[in-house]
């Protein structure tokens, strides 16, 4: 999977690159408008992570170029502008998703994974992970011992974990993913524990290994050896 990271802040760009490289992506970076145009004209990417504020131009310009070249597919905008107008403009110009800074790396990974699944499998996609089969369209999960009945939150949690395989995901990133930015919870995130406990129990009952490891004081990690297959 090839990923282009268009972000002018080298530190942030490096973090994203590093996170995705560990998830077996081939990452390229562009730091300004011209470099970004050069890259998108010369190469095809499975997914492009695009910052709006760029030196020498702006992200909307890159989007327009991509749209003109017929390559506006698989784009996640990351922007510090939490503005509805910008979001609408970006999505109208062909972006697939819009993430406001500061975001959780795990959230970005989940969004990128969703875009790639949609692009690659054209809607009838399935995730197969060992004995686990996720039918993303029917939102159905099958284990070695048959269908696993998951609640909406448990299902979302599982997809989120799979998008962040072998990564430590913080509890707050999970809360933000499942409940959105709207729910302003106090510092106590213990309530997600029951969701995770139920998910683990259901997966294990269906004959799956115990994928989820708790990292003390920090969050959780979904450990799986195999890659994502159709």
């Amino acid at each position: 999977m090839k990923l282009l990271i268009i972000e002018d802040q080298p530190e942030l760009s490096e973090s994203i690159r590093s996170y995705f490289t560990h998830a077996n992506f081939i990452c390229e970076v562009a730091y300004d408008y011209h470099m970004a145009l050069e890259k998108v004209h010369d190469h095809d990417y499975d997914c492009i992570i695009l910052d709006i504020n760029l030196p020498l131009g702006n992200g909307f310009g890159v989007l327009k170029e991509l749209q003109f070249a017929g390559k506006a597919d698989g784009i996640v905008i990351i922007s510090a502008r939490h503005s509805l107008d910008d979001k609408v403009l970006g999505l109208n110009l062909g972006a697939d998703d819009y993430l406001t800074k500061p975001f959780h790396m795990a959230e970005l990974a989940a969004r990128v994974a969703a875009i790639i699944r949609r692009k690659t499998f054209a809607g009838k996609n399935k995730i197969i992970l060992g004995g686990l089969i996720l039918d993303l369209q029917g939102r159905e999960v099958k284990g070695p011992k048959g269908i696993i009945d998951l609640t909406r939150k448990e299902y979302d949690l599982l997809v989120y974990f799979i998008g962040n395989k072998n990564k430590v995901v913080t509890k707050e990133a999970i809360v933000e993913h499942l409940w959105g930015d709207s729910v302003d919870m106090a510092d106590n995130y213990d309530f997600i524990y029951s969701h995770i406990k139920n998910l683990r129990k259901k997966l294990m009952l269906a004959g799956c290994p115990d994928y989820v490891t708790a990292i003390y004081g920090m969050g959780y990690k979904f450990v799986a050896a195999e890659g994502e297959k159709q």
Partner: protein
């Protein structure tokens, strides 16, 4: 009182005073002139009497005067001067008491001295005074009437551009001053005022755009380093060799970043609300909206052991759906966050009223300060004290009236619209 009503009253008062003064002085002047005339006339009569006496050596008999009266009395001594005075006498012709001008003088003839009194009526003078007063009153009345009429018809029309301009300014929305149009006027002052108002509005618009740009840029400048810190920490926790102590440090750094980024977002949101940047309004079905929210929140509340009860009637409001969303998120988050273990949350929606009550700290919040920025009833680590100011900001732009009550250990926030 309107400016031109005020002006008219002052005008009227001055006019009445001026009229009265002029009427008074005209009266005095006319009085003086006529009296002089009469005195000259009487002096003529006096001379006639003297001449008659000098010629005939006897007093004139009968009435030698048209409308005057004359009387003779023997006197002991003679007067040096003729004495003029104004007196009231019975006028035989008009059959009533009347002002007369009289003169008293002495005549000497054949060693006899007579005191002669000649009186003539001041009738003409009386009529003139009466006429002056009548004319004066009529003029004052006419002035009042014409002023009232001018007020009603002319001034209202003259001042129209002023009220039109006020109306335009009142309905001015920063962000689209292009809609600001003043009706054309030929009055120099109003044209000048319109030009100045237009300039002020354009300046405000410019400042507003700058401020908007500034807040957006400020947020960008803050959000980027925050993203970098967060991404670096996320890289760090991927390291499997982190000790427990290190994990705890990173974890608390995460929590602070979350707080900082929420604070930043809240301040931005407040600015946007007060800048009225959420100007898209539509009919929002409150019942559906709250039901949707409850699905999300109930789970969290149940996980925290909070009992919830709700009673929702059909209700709708004309408002920005985004703002109502933020309002409900804030309210429901607060109801859960500021609760006590095994507490309760009660939500009631009637067609024009939403009440959210929850158990919480066992003391009322300061109702005069709860809606101000950074107010914290007690030190609560999880919130930045902006939630209620955001709620208030939203209420202000959507014409909702918020209020707070504390009753039998329950904090209630009541919203009416």
């Amino acid at each position: 009182m309107r400016l031109f009503t005020k002006y008219s009253w002052i005008n009227l008062l001055v006019m009445v005073i001026v009229f009265l003064l002029s009427a008074g002085s005209t009266n005095l002047l006319v009085n003086y002139v006529l009296t002089n005339e009469l005195d000259a006339d009487i002096a003529g009569s006096v001379q006639n009497v003297r001449n008659y006496v000098a010629l005939h050596h006897q007093l004139p008999v009968g009435q030698p005067l048209d409308d005057g009266q004359i009387s003779y009395r023997p006197a002991d001594s003679s007067l040096n001067h003729s004495l003029f005075s104004t007196i009231t006498l019975y006028s035989a012709r008009e059959k009533k008491m009347h002002n007369h001008r009289q003169v008293v003088f002495t005549l000497s003839d054949n060693g006899k001295t007579y005191l002669v009194t000649i009186a003539k009526p001041l009738e003409g003078l009386h009529h003139v005074s009466k006429a002056i007063i009548q004319v004066c009153l009529a003029t004052i009345l006419a002035a009042i009437l014409s002023l009232l009429l001018i007020n009603r018809l002319l001034l209202r029309r003259l001042w129209r551009p002023f009220y039109d301009a006020l109306h335009a300014i009142r309905h001015l929305k920063l962000g689209n001053t292009r809609d600001l149009h003043f009706p054309a006027t030929t009055t120099e002052e109003f044209a000048f005022m319109n030009e100045s108002l237009g300039m002020a509005a354009r300046k405000a618009e410019q400042d507003y755009l700058l401020l908007k740009e500034f807040t957006e840029n400020a947020s960008h400048e803050l959000q980027t380093p925050l993203s970098i810190i967060r991404s670096k920490l996320e890289m760090l926790i991927q390291d499997e060799d982190l000790s427990l102590r290190q994990s705890e440090i990173v974890s608390s750094a995460f929590a602070s970043i979350k707080k900082l980024s929420r604070l930043n977002q809240s301040l931005l949101l407040l600015t946007k609300i007060s800048n009225q940047q959420f100007n898209h309004v539509e009919k929002v079905d409150m019942k559906v909206k709250i039901e949707d929210k409850l699905i999300e929140f109930r789970e969290l509340w149940q996980a925290n052991g909070l009992r919830t009860a709700w009673q929702l009637q059909e209700a709708s409001i004309i408002a920005s759906p985004d703002l109502i969303d933020i309002l409900l998120n804030n309210l429901l988050s607060n109801a859960g966050n500021h609760n006590v273990p095994r507490g309760s949350i009660d939500i009631r929606l009637t067609p024009e009223k939403l009440t959210i009550s929850n158990t919480g700290s066992p003391a009322a919040l300061d109702p005069t300060r709860i809606f101000t920025r950074f107010y914290k009833g007690e030190q609560h680590s999880g919130n930045n004290g902006l939630g209620l100011s955001i709620i208030k900001g939203i209420c202000e732009v959507t014409a909702i009236v918020p209020s707070y009550q504390y009753h039998s250990d329950k904090h209630s926030f009541i919203f009416t619209w």
